[in-house]
C-alpha cells in the first residue's frame, strides 16, 4: 500500500468516524413563533422564475397584514410574515420551508403556493405538527386527505368543484348541448373532467368528444378542429393559459362559435385580453369565480377598503390583478383564524379555528360562506358563474352552493 493510499483511506475513515460522533439535537418547548407581542408565520412563493406572476400574492398578503398590524394586530400581537422565493421548484421549497420551521421558528406555514411545492413539504410539516394552512393551490388533496395529513388545509375551491358548477349549469340551462372537451392529459385535466361529469349527472351523454393534449404541447389546433367537426356547440376548456389562448384563437379562426367555458386558472383578464388581441372572439365566454367583484362595485365599503389598503401598503400593485384580490381573501382568513385561536394560540387551537369556520369573508363574492368542519375541509366550496363582456368578467346568476 502506498503512502498516498494510506492517507486517502485514513481520510475516508476520519470523515466517517467524525460524522458518526455528532450528537442529536434537542428541540425547544413552548409554542414556536408566538411571543407576547408578535406571531410569526411564513411561506414560500415564486418571486422569480417562470411562475413569477404569482409573486404579487405574498406582497399583497404582507400589505394586508401591515394594515391589520396598524390597527392593533391580532389579540394584541403583531403579525410577522416571512416569505421566501422558491421559484416554484420543490428542490428550493423544501430547504426554505425547513428554514422557516427550524431557523425562523414560524408558528405556521401559511399560503405557500403550488401543488408540487406543497406536496413536497407536506410529509415534513405534518410529521412535526406544523400547520400548513391556506395553501395556494386548487388540488383536492388538501381537503380530501386530512386523515393522513391533519395539519394541512387548502383555501380556494378545488378543480372538480369548479367544473361541477359548469356541469350543473350546462345540464340545467343548455338543453340542446353537445359538449366538446379539451383537457390537459394529466391529473390537472382529469380533476376538471371528473368534476364536469359529476356536475352533468345524467346529462353526461351530451359529451360528443373529448380531446386531450400533452402538458408539454402548446399547439392544440388539431384538437380544436376535431371538436368542431364532432359538432360540439359547448366548448369546455380545461387547459393551462398558453393552450387556452391558442384554443380560443383557433376556434374563432375556423369559424367555430360554441358556448365556451374557460377554467378559473386560465381566465385571468390578462389572458383573455391576450386572446382577444390575437383575434379570438371571447365575448360571452363563461368562467367561475369566488372573489369579490370589484369592477362592477367600485364604491362599496369592501372595494374602498381594498383600494385604500393597496394604495397605502402595496402601491406598486395592479388593482385589477386577480392575484391581489385572491391574496386579500386569503390573508383575511388567516387573520380570522389567528383571532379565533384564542388569547394564547397553540398550533392545535389554530387548526381548530380553521376547521370550524362558519363565516362570511368580505373579500369573497357576496353570498359565499366559508364553512369547514374537522371532516369537511374545503374552506370555499361555492362559486358564481361569470361572463366575459367588454373586456371584463361580469358575475351572473346565483351562487352555486356546496355541490359535494
Amino acid at each position: 500500500m502506498t503512502r498516498r493510499m494510506k492517507t486517502a483511506l485514513a481520510t475516508a475513515g476520519l470523515v466517517i468516524a467524525a460524522a458518526a460522533v455528532s450528537a442529536a439535537f434537542a428541540s425547544a418547548a413552548g409554542t414556536p413563533g408566538v411571543t407576547a407581542r408578535t406571531i410569526v408565520i411564513g411561506g414560500t412563493f415564486p418571486l422569480t422564475g417562470p411562475a413569477a406572476l404569482y409573486g404579487a400574492i405574498p406582497k399583497a398578503e404582507a400589505a394586508y397584514f401591515s394594515y391589520v398590524n396598524a390597527h392593533g394586530g391580532v389579540n394584541g400581537r403583531q403579525i410577522v410574515f416571512k416569505y421566501y422565493d422558491d421559484q416554484y421548484n420543490p428542490a428550493n421549497t423544501v430547504p426554505l420551508t425547513k428554514k422557516l420551521v427550524q431557523q425562523d421558528h414560524v408558528f405556521a406555514v401559511y399560503g405557500s403556493l403550488g401543488t408540487a411545492p406543497t406536496l413536497a413539504t407536506r410529509d415534513y410539516l405534518n410529521k412535526l405538527g406544523v400547520p400548513q394552512v391556506l395553501v395556494a393551490t386548487g388540488d383536492s388533496y388538501w381537503g380530501a386527505q386530512y386523515r393522513k395529513y391533519p395539519w394541512t388545509i387548502g383555501f380556494q375551491p378545488d378543480y372538480p368543484g369548479e367544473s361541477r358548477v359548469y356541469g350543473k349549469f350546462v345540464a340545467s340551462k343548455v338543453p340542446q348541448a353537445k359538449i366538446g372537451v379539451l383537457m390537459q392529459d394529466d391529473a390537472y385535466g382529469q380533476n376538471y373532467y371528473q368534476g364536469l361529469l359529476q356536475g352533468l349527472g345524467a346529462s353526461k351523454s351530451k359529451i360528443v368528444d373529448v380531446e386531450k393534449y400533452d402538458p408539454t404541447q402548446t399547439d392544440v389546433s388539431a384538437q380544436v378542429v376535431k371538436l368542431k367537426a364532432a359538432g360540439a356547440n359547448v366548448f369546455a376548456l380545461f387547459a393551462l393559459p398558453t393552450q387556452t389562448i391558442t384554443a380560443l384563437v383557433v376556434a374563432t379562426k375556423i369559424g367555430w362559435h360554441p358556448t365556451t367555458f374557460v377554467n378559473n386558472v386560465s381566465a385571468s383578464p390578462l389572458f383573455m385580453a391576450l386572446a382577444q388581441k390575437s383575434g379570438a372572439n371571447v365575448d360571452g365566454d363563461i368562467s367561475a369565480t369566488y372573489l369579490y367583484d370589484y369592477i362592477n362595485n367600485p364604491s362599496t365599503a369592501t372595494a374602498k377598503l381594498f383600494k385604500s389598503i393597496v394604495d397605502k401598503y402595496d402601491p406598486g400593485a395592479n388593482l385589477l390583478d386577480a392575484n391581489i384580490e385572491y391574496a386579500f381573501a386569503n390573508a383575511w382568513t388567516v387573520v380570522y383564524a389567528l383571532k379565533h385561536a384564542g388569547k394564547n394560540p397553540t398550533r392545535q387551537s389554530f387548526m381548530n379555528a380553521l376547521t370550524h369556520l362558519d363565516v362570511v369573508n368580505p373579500f369573497l363574492y357576496p353570498g359565499i360562506r366559508m364553512v369547514t368542519t374537522p371532516t369537511e375541509r374545503f374552506p370555499i366550496d361555492q362559486q358564481i358563474l361569470e361572463q366575459y363582456k367588454n373586456g371584463a368578467w361580469h358575475p351572473f346568476g346565483h351562487v352555486f352552493s356546496k355541490a359535494r
Binding site: 503512502r3 486517502a8 481520510t11 475516508a12 470523515v15 460524522a19 455528532s22 421548484n89 423544501v94 428554514k99
Partner: protein, 325 residues
C-alpha cells in the same frame, strides 16, 4: 514527480478538511446540517463533472439528467417497492453508468460545443420524459418520500462524498487518469500513445454519470421529494458553474465550487436583503470574473498557496497556466 513535501502538505490539507467537515455538525443547527448535506450533493455532482470535463476534456452541460436518473431510481424503488433508501444507491449508480455510456457514445464523434449541445439536449429531455411517464414517476406531482433528520442527511451525504472523493482520486492518479488527461490534451497524441479513445471516453462518461446519479439519489433524499422541476436545466448549470468556479481539473476546487453554488443562493434568498433576483447576476459575474482572472478557479489559489509554502518562495517549475493542469 512531485516532491514529498507536496504530498505531505496535500495529506495535511485532506486531514484538516475531513476533520472540519466531520466535526462541523456539532456546531450546526439541524437546518444548517441539511444545508450542509446539499453541499455534499453538489460536491459529488461537481466531482463527477470534473472527471469527464476537467480531466477528460469532454464538455457536459447535462449532468442534471444523470442526477435525475439516480434520483428517480431511488424515489421509485423506495416509494413503490419499499426498498431501504440507501440500498437504492448501487442501483442508481448502475443506471447512471449505463446512461453515461450511452450519452458518451456521441462523444466519440462530436467535439467541443457539439458535444455540449448533445448533453444539453439530454438535460432538457430527461425531465420531460419523467413528466410524460407519470404513472411511473408521479409526473409533476412527483413522489414524496419519508423525510430524514438534518444530521442523518449530513452524515450520509458526507460519508458518501468522502468515499467518492477517494475513489475519484484513486482513479485519476494512476494509469486511467493519465489516459483521461492525454485524451483531454490531444486526442491524436493519446491515440498514438496507445490510448483507446472509445474506451476511455465512454468510461469517463460512465463513471462520471454513475457518480452524478448517486448525487441525484442523495438530492432526492435531502428533499424527500422528486418531480421533474427538481432536475431542471438550472441544476445542470449550477453543477457546471460550481465546476468552473472551483476549478476544472482539480479535486480540491470541487469543495469550493459546491459551497459556492449551494450557499450563495440560500444566503441571498433568505438573508436580510431577500434578493433572489440577484443570484443569476452574481453567478454570471463570478463565472466571468473567474474565467478572466483565475482560469483554474478557486483551486488555483489553493495550489499557489500550497506551492509557495512547500517551495518557500522559490518559483515553481511548472507555470500556473492552463498547460499546468
Amino acid at each position: 514527480m512531485r516532491p514529498a513535501r507536496g504530498t505531505v502538505a496535500g495529506a495535511a490539507v485532506a486531514i484538516v478538511v475531513a476533520a472540519v467537515i466531520g466535526l462541523l455538525p456539532l456546531a450546526l443547527s439541524d437546518y444548517h446540517r441539511s444545508t450542509g448535506a446539499t453541499v455534499a450533493v453538489y460536491f459529488i455532482a461537481i466531482l463527477a463533472l470534473d472527471i469527464v470535463t476537467g480531466y477528460t476534456g469532454q464538455i457536459s452541460i447535462g449532468h442534471g439528467a444523470f442526477m435525475a436518473i439516480g434520483g428517480y431510481a431511488t424515489a421509485i424503488l423506495t416509494h413503490d417497492h419499499g426498498w431501504n433508501d440507501l440500498a437504492t444507491l448501487p442501483v442508481a449508480a448502475a443506471a447512471g453508468f449505463a446512461a453515461g455510456v450511452v450519452v458518451g457514445l456521441p462523444a466519440l464523434r462530436f467535439h467541443g460545443v457539439y458535444l455540449a449541445l448533445t448533453t444539453f439536449a439530454v438535460a432538457l429531455a430527461v425531465p420531460q420524459i419523467a413528466k410524460n411517464y407519470s404513472h411511473f414517476t408521479g409526473g409533476t406531482e412527483g413522489l414524496s418520500l419519508p423525510s430524514h433528520s438534518g444530521l442523518w442527511l449530513y452524515e450520509v451525504g458526507w460519508a458518501i462524498a468522502g468515499a467518492t472523493f477517494v475513489l475519484a482520486w484513486l482513479l485519476l492518479r494512476g494509469r486511467t487518469g493519465r489516459a483521461f488527461r492525454a485524451v483531454r490534451d490531444s486526442e491524436i497524441a493519446a491515440a498514438s500513445a496507445g490510448v483507446t479513445l472509445a474506451v476511455y471516453k465512454t468510461a469517463a462518461f460512465g463513471v462520471s454519470a454513475a457518480m452524478a446519479a448517486v448525487a441525484g439519489s442523495l438530492f432526492v433524499l435531502v428533499n424527500s421529494f422528486v418531480n421533474p422541476d427538481v432536475f431542471g436545466l438550472q441544476l445542470s448549470l449550477y453543477v457546471l458553474i460550481g465546476a468552473v468556479v472551483g476549478g476544472l481539473g482539480s479535486l480540491w476546487g470541487v469543495l469550493a465550487g459546491a459551497a459556492f453554488v449551494q450557499l450563495l443562493p440560500v444566503g441571498l434568498t433568505t438573508g436580510h436583503l431577500a434578493s433572489s433576483q440577484a443570484v443569476p447576476v452574481i453567478f454570471g459575474a463570478v463565472v466571468i470574473g473567474v474565467m478572466a482572472l483565475l482560469p483554474l478557479g478557486a483551486a488555483d489559489v489553493l495550489r499557489a498557496v500550497l506551492r509557495s509554502a512547500s517551495t518557500r518562495g522559490k518559483h515553481s517549475e511548472t507555470p500556473l497556466g492552463t498547460e499546468g493542469r
